[in-house]
Structure formats: structure tokens, C-alpha cells
Symmetry: C2
Subunit: 345 residues, 2 copies
DNA sequence: TAGAGCCTGGACAACGTTGTCAGATGCGAG
DNA sequence: CTCGCATCTGACAACGTTGTCCAGGCTCTA
């Protein structure tokens, strides 16, 4: 009775606690705790009374208090660049699945490729005492994480390595993938090949550029500056860059696109041109097989990246002190037509 | 000195607290709290000493304890079906942006369209005392949320309404969109039109089916059972369903696809056929404009759904007691070619 | 029937933070 | 020189949970 009144009269936001449950069930506080956590040492009769009280009051354990007491939050943080990017959806989902298998929840944040925002997010997650962090770095200096890692926050970087600190990282073989993709174009007779990619301060972008250069060099083809466009990602500028290389005095006959967004725009530009242009893109894109010609890509497995990173994270959490490791996953060239076009003109 | 030793010798996971900072700076506990929270009433000199101690120890405030004291967690939960689905990426991102603007973090979970898993996730989020919930329901009975909502957890449903309870919901106009899409096909001369969609227990699927039926009825066209395929989503079965309706004794000349995944598979099937088949899909898909013919779709704005829901959530949190509302966002027919093909045969 | 041992239940402290309140300090005015 | 006031600081309780430990009641055996 009294308890019911208390609930009813209580201000918005007041919730019953174990104490309330205990009072209503006529037992001690700790007994309620035992029932809630399925600990042994409670007679069936007592347990029933407690369960009824829980039901009646709509009690739900306050995990904040629990965390405070126990030290572990059973949650991990994932900081990525943009959840809306189709590359990160599967990655995030894969991390979530692994977390779920370990009974942990996932807190998600997008850095929008802004180093400051990355740091802000990471530190906010640390303040909540996430057990671990999976980070797709935006910045190139992660020394701010050192105290956190020392304090026991498991940390794994994905897609790009950490800057200035020694930490686990899971990568795709950007260099090898790009090199093979460009070599593929060369094997089909191209010599004037363009490269459009992101800012070289982004590790993957730099590696892919290096792969491009290496493939060209291996084939003994000198690269002209006009064939390369770096730091360009927004559709409008990619479009301009592509059109420029396709028009100049020595126009390219093939393009290597440095990521999925660039690929999409280049496909658009090429489809508007009369003369066919060969194309290989880094990252697979949906429906690539249905375009005419199909888009040849260097595919990386985003889900596998996420899974691998999360596995590694929980291995850290399971206590083994592991030396930081660099895990590189292979890429896969998927030929669909656009990369096999011969040079024209 | 003593503190340093304590830190160094401390077991894995030990972190400095405000008490440690206070001891090192030679001030009281509360003074540290004041500095950390930027409260007034601390002399610049004291503040500097405290800041130095914080720096030296690598102190970071424990938000779990803070939450326990203050009651608000500054985090909201988002339960959706599958983060890897391109429809949910932008939605999730939009919710995150709004949360960020309110200083809150986002905890994400995928229900995988399993009602039990949805409930499990939601209750886990409530146990963490998230301030609010954005839920894309998998189940059709949400009475389990009643005690939580009563206790002050702001709740908004998205994409599908809640079951058995009265709550805010933000929807796309599935019915109207589907009806218009089908009417568009009818206007282009089709009479035998197929429908492939998800299980009718999913609200959006049911609404889209209703839209299809209504459009057909409005045009005075009797619908044959063989034209409809319900509860089919995995690519293989969609493929079989599509092939069946395109082959039978009275084959359809056009297909309305109930969601993005179905649309993609149907595009595949159609592209393999000699005879052209008209197609309108619900949900936009990337590169739809580059296919030949381009794919005509009924587009909904996932980001806008997320933004609207999150806005509503924070309005609830800002204290105003609002009567539950149903907000319906319009859809947009985007014609690209596939929906304007005339009937053939 | 008394003592040993087991089982159940509860009192209490602790986790790290913030709100309350009162004490200390310094300064100016009478 | 002393009082009063404003400013700064710190002791203490509280948030809701879990771990420790002890008390009381029971059963079983000698």
C-alpha cells in the first residue's frame, strides 16, 4: 500500500530501487540483489515473493550503479567516420555481433573525418568507462589515448593505423590491392592511367597511391602529374578531376578510383562519354555487376575487418597481455568488364 | 611520490579518482569536482594546481558515478533492424547528429527483425538508464515498455508503429507511396502487375500491399493471387517468385518491389530476360540512375525519418508532456525509365 | 538432546561522483 | 583593532548496487 502510494505520487523519473523491492517483499536488500542476479542461496518461496514485488513495482536494475561497483560496463565504443557510408554499415554490424556474443553493447559515434571530433568522442566513451574501443582513426596523433590504454581500456584500430602510439590495428591490404588493380589495367594494354583518391594524410589513400605508383613503375611507365588527383572526394570536384584527365593533351585511357565514393562519380562521368574508358575501383559497390559494363573492383571485406578487430578486442579483454599486432587482410580483384576494356584512341 | 607509486603498482584497470587528484594537488575533493565541471568559486592558482594534478595522473571523470548521482545519462538508445542495411545507415547517422547537438551519445543495437531480441535490447538499454529510446520495432507488442515510459524514458518509434501501446511514431507514407507507384505503372498501360514484399506482419509491408491493392482496385483491375508474393525477402526466394510471375499463363508485365532488397534482386532477374519488364521499387537504391533503364522508385528519406524522430525525442526530454503523435512523412516518386516502360507481349 | 555444520538472510561498507552546508580566510569599514 | 561580509574551500551524505561477513535457524549425528 504505502509503496504503491509512493510510486504513484513520485515525481516523473523516480524509479523503484532494490530497497523498495525489498521493503515490499519483506526481505533484506541483499536478498533482492541475489534474486536479480540469479545467485544461489535463496529459497524458492522467498524468490517468488521477490519476483512478485519486482513485477508489481516495475523494477529494473540500475546498471550505472552496478558498473560503479563492479568496474566493467559490458559496453564497447566504436568510432568511425560516417555511419551513413555503405562501407561502415556492415563493419559496424559485425562489431556489434561480436560484442553481443560477449554480452556487450555497442556505443557508436561518427567522427566525420575530423580529428578533433574523434578525440572528443573517444574521450567521452572513456569517461563512460567502456571496456574497449574500436577506432577508425580520423587524426594522426593518438597519444591522447595513452593514459586510457594504460588504465586498461582495450583498443583496436581499424582500416588505418594509429598515429604516434603502438597499438593493435586491422587493415586491408590497400597497397597490394591498388597495385594489383592498376597492374590489371596495364595488363590489358593501358599505359596512360589516371588515379583519383583522397588526401594522402589518410593512410589508406596514401597506400593506394603508393600501390598505383609501384605498379606503374614496375611496368616502366613514367607517371604524369596531370594523371593524379589527390584529396578530392566530393562528387563535383571528382567529376571535374575526371573530366580534366580524360580531356588534356595526353588523355588517360583508364582510371583507378581510390574509394567507393570516387568510383560512383567516375562511373557517372564515364557513362556520359562517347569513347569507352576503362575503370577499376577500390571497394565494391552495390549493383556494380548490373551496370554495362560491370564495374571491376578491388574488394575489401568490411564485415571481416570489423569481426577481426572485435575479436582481437575481446581477446585483449579476456586478460592475455598481447603485444600490439598489425593484421592485414587481403583484397580481392573482381573482374566485371570495366577493367578489361582495351585502351581506345 | 606516494600517489605515483600507487599508480604504478596498481593492478590493471585501476584509475585515479578525484580523491587522488585532490591529494596530489593538496586540495579538497569538492574543489577538484568544481574544476572538472567548470563551476565558479575557485581561485586561478588553485585551479592551476588541480589541472596539473589531473594532467599528471591522467585523470578522467567516471561518468557512471556521475550518472548515479545526477540521474541523467546523456545517452539515447537506437534499436533498429540491421545496421548493415543501407536504409538504416543514414537514419542512424541522422539520429546521432541530433543527439550530438544535445550533448548525448548514441547506443546502437540491431534486432535482426527478431521481437525477442528487440525486447532484450530495449530492456538492456533501459537498465543503463538511457534518457530516451528510438525504436524501429520488430515485434508487435510493446506493452513491456509501459513501466519504462511511465518512469520517464522518452520513447519514439520509427518506420513502424508500436504495438498495443500509445506512443509517438514517425512513419513514411507507405500506403500512399505504394499506391502512387502502382498507379504510375497503370498509367503507363500495365494491367497485369506483380507485387513482391515482406511479411504482412511488418507494418510497412502490409501498408505497401494495401497501397498496391487500392491502386489496382481504383483502376478496376482484379488482382490474381499468382501476382503477389508475400513474406519473401532473401534473394534466392525473391528470384524464384519473380521468375514465377513472369512465366505463368498470364505473366505480369510489370513488378512493384516492396523494399530495397527486393528491388535489387528483381533488377537482376529482369536484366537477364529478353523481354523488357517494367519495375517500380519502394526505397531508393544507389546507382539506380546509372542502370539501363534507370530504376524508377518511390523514395523515402531515411535521414529525415531519423531526424524527425530524434527531434521529437528531445522535445519529450525537454520536459513538455506531449500527447503521443503520429507523424507521417511523404514519399517521392522518382522516374528514371524502368517504371515508364510500356507493357510488352 | 546437545553440538557441529550447513543453509538462508541481512547489516554494512564501498564504488566515485555531486549537492549541501558550514568553516576558514582575507578584506574593508567603522 | 574589531567586526561583518564576501569569497573560497572542504567535510559529509547520498545516489543504487554488490561483496564481505556474521547471525540465526535448521538438520543431522553421536
Amino acid at each position: 500500500m504505502a509503496e504503491t502510494a509512493r510510486r504513484t505520487e513520485s515525481r516523473y523519473g523516480n524509479r523503484p530501487t532494490m530497497k523498495d523491492v525489498a521493503a515490499r517483499a519483506g526481505v533484506g536488500l541483499k536478498t533482492v540483489s541475489r534474486v536479480v542476479n540469479g545467485e544461489p542461496g535463496v529459497t524458492p518461496d522467498t524468490e517468488r515473493r521477490v519476483q512478485e514485488a519486482i513485477e508489481a513495482l516495475g523494477f529494473r536494475r540500475n546498471d550505472s550503479a552496478r558498473v560503479l561497483r563492479k568496474g566493467r560496463t559490458a559496453s564497447i565504443g566504436l568510432v568511425l567516420e560516417d555511419l551513413a557510408d555503405p562501407f561502415y554499415g556492415p563493419l559496424s554490424r559485425a562489431v556489434e555481433e561480436v560484442a553481443r556474443a560477449h554480452g556487450a553493447l555497442l556505443i557508436n559515434g561518427s567522427s566525420a573525418e575530423d580529428p578533433e571530433r574523434e578525440q572528443e568522442l573517444v574521450l567521452a566513451l572513456c569517461a563512460r568507462r567502456v571496456d574497449g574501443l574500436v577506432v577508425i582513426p580520423a587524426g594522426d596523433d593518438h597519444r591522447y589515448l595513452e593514459p586510457e590504454m594504460k588504465a586498461g581500456v582495450a583498443t583496436v584500430f581499424v582500416d588505418r593505423p594509429a598515429g604516434q602510439i603502438d597499438a593493435d590495428v586491422v587493415l586491408s591490404d590497400s597497397f597490394g590491392g591498388a597495385r594489383d588493380g592498376v597492374a590489371h589495367l596495364i595488363a590489358h594494354g593501358h599505359r596512360r592511367i589516371g588515379f583519383i583518391g583522397d588526401m594522402p594524410r589518410i593512410h589508406t589513400a596514401a597506400e593506394r597511391l603508393r600501390g598505383y605508383r609501384t605498379a606503374m613503375e614496375d611496368a616502366g611507365i613514367p607517371v604524369e602529374d596531370a594523371w593524379m588527383s589527390l584529396g578530392v572526394t566530393d562528387p563535383q570536384r571528382v567529376r571535374r578531376a575526371a573530366e580534366t584527365m580524360l580531356s588534356g593533351p595526353s588523355p588517360v585511357t583508364a582510371v583507378f578510383a581510390g574509394n567507393n565514393r570516387v568510383t560512383v562519380t567516375v562511373v557517372r562521368v564515364i557513362s556520359e562519354r562517347a569513347r569507352p574508358v576503362a575503370l577499376v575501383g577500390f571497394d565494391d559497390i552495390e549493383l556494380a555487376d548490373l551496370l554495362r559494363p560491370g564495374v571491376t573492383v578491388v574488394a575489401q571485406d568490411a564485415a571481416q575487418l570489423g569481426r577481426t578487430a572485435a575479436d582481437r578486442l575481446f581477446r585483449q579483454l579476456d586478460g592475455s597481455l598481447l603485444a600490439p599486432e598489425r593484421i592485414e587482410l587481403p583484397t580481392r580483384l573482381i573482374t566485371r568488364g570495366s577493367g578489361e576494356l582495351p585502351p581506345s584512341a
